[in-house]
């Protein structure tokens, strides 16, 4: 009998990793060699033992946590909290009111002597430019001009600097409250659920 097959060859034989010619040679050898046939059979039993090892038991069903994690990752954009909507609306309302009171005061406070009819000049320039682009935009010029006039006709409220400061403070507080709520809501949403 020629030399026995080495262990590597037996492993590759059972792994079906030999080419056809070499496999035929090994088959022929195993038919004739009792020792190598016994060795390959022992190796085959080892393969069976490894592959037939039963699964370790899994003591809990984690499908629910996987589904929850997936839903967390793929949920639609969060809807704003009702408190947040109210805060944003209040911010906008307070800001508009403050602007309505502050604009005439600011216009009056402008140094008129240094920049005479500044606002009117700006509006005219804008209107002229629009008119040059298209005759149809002439209406816009009239509208803008009317708006400027109406703004000038507004009665000036008797607001002091203190009142304006209080208004600004109110807007600031509303802004802080609104953004605080927004940050709180964002922090409440974990980026990745621990599973």
């Amino acid at each position: 009998m020629p030399n026995h097959l080495d262990d590597d060859t037996l492993n590759e034989y059972l792994d079906s990793a030999l080419d056809a010619a070499r496999r035929a040679e090994v088959d022929a050898h195993l038919t004739a060699c009792v020792d190598c046939a016994a060795r390959v059979e022992k190796l085959r039993l080892l393969f069976t033992a490894i592959e037939s090892a039963p699964h370790a038991p899994l003591h809990r069903d984690f499908s629910a946590s996987v589904v929850a994690a997936l839903q967390e990752r793929h949920q639609p954009a969060p809807v704003l909290l009702p408190q947040l909507r109210v805060a944003f609306a209040m911010q906008a309302i307070v800001a508009l009111i403050l602007f309505a009171f502050a604009a005439p005061i600011a216009m009056q406070a402008l140094p008129v002597s240094e920049t005479p009819q500044f606002t009117q000049q700006v509006f005219d320039a804008i209107a002229d430019t629009l008119a040059e682009w298209s005759a149809s935009l002439a209406l816009a010029r009239q509208t803008v001009t009317n708006a400027a006039s109406a703004l000038n006709d507004l009665p000036l409220p008797a607001l002091s600097l203190l009142a304006l400061s209080l208004g600004g403070l109110a807007v600031t507080l509303m802004w802080l409250v609104g953004n605080g709520l927004l940050i709180t809501q964002l922090n409440r949403r974990p980026t990745q659920q621990r599973i």
Partner: protein, 184 residues
């Protein structure tokens, strides 16, 4: 949303899951969580870590469902995803030494003698695998449980073909020494 029940095929469940129906994917998780967990357990040797990795593997698989070939069985693909995840994790961190969870994996008391012997034998095989060094466990897992070729293993582990053979044959030799007396 439709409600694919437990009778739906893997293919149907996968199609539903691709449309964003996470409950359908949950059914796939229920079907394959044990085998996927075992892939992770054999590769990490640590039960808690294996559970975490198995769940992470399912989430990763869900994200990659678009790349999954529906004509191929889901189970092997899913286990391959888990194996890759574990191998990546093992390659970036020092793996813990395998500690078998004796408390949970022992055969139950009061079982008939033959069943208990079989369970003990199976447990010794599993223990022998888990006692291997991580790089040996990896080649055993990929060759014997994922049915990968030498070339595929070399590619997955990013090691030369000669190293695959060396690790695999050496691992088998160690296993034969540990459990050889039980082979019959």
């Amino acid at each position: 949303m439709t409600d694919p029940g437990g009778d739906a095929s893997d293919r149907d469940l996968t199609l539903h899951a691709r449309r964003g129906e996470t409950e359908a994917f949950g059914e796939l998780v229920r079907r394959y969580q044990t085998s996927v967990f075992n892939v992770c357990y054999r590769l990490t040797g640590e039960r808690r870590e294996a559970e975490d990795l198995a769940q992470e593997a399912f989430i990763r698989a869900y994200e990659r469902l678009a790349n999954y070939d529906l004509d191929r069985p889901f189970g092997p693909w899913m286990r391959r995803v888990a194996a890759n995840l574990c191998l990546n994790r093992l390659s970036i961190q020092h793996p813990p030494e395998a500690v078998i969870d004796e408390e949970h994996d022992k055969a139950e008391e009061g079982e008939p003698e033959t069943i208990r012997e079989q369970a003990e034998r199976a447990e010794s095989v599993r223990a022998a695998i888990l006692s291997l060094p991580p790089h040996y466990r990896a080649v055993i897992e990929l060759r014997h449980f994922e049915d990968m070729s030498y070339d595929d293993i070399a590619s997955a582990l990013k090691i030369p073909l000669s190293a695959v053979k060396s690790h695999l044959f050496r691992a088998r030799k160690i296993l034969a020494e540990k459990i050889g007396h039980e082979l019959h």
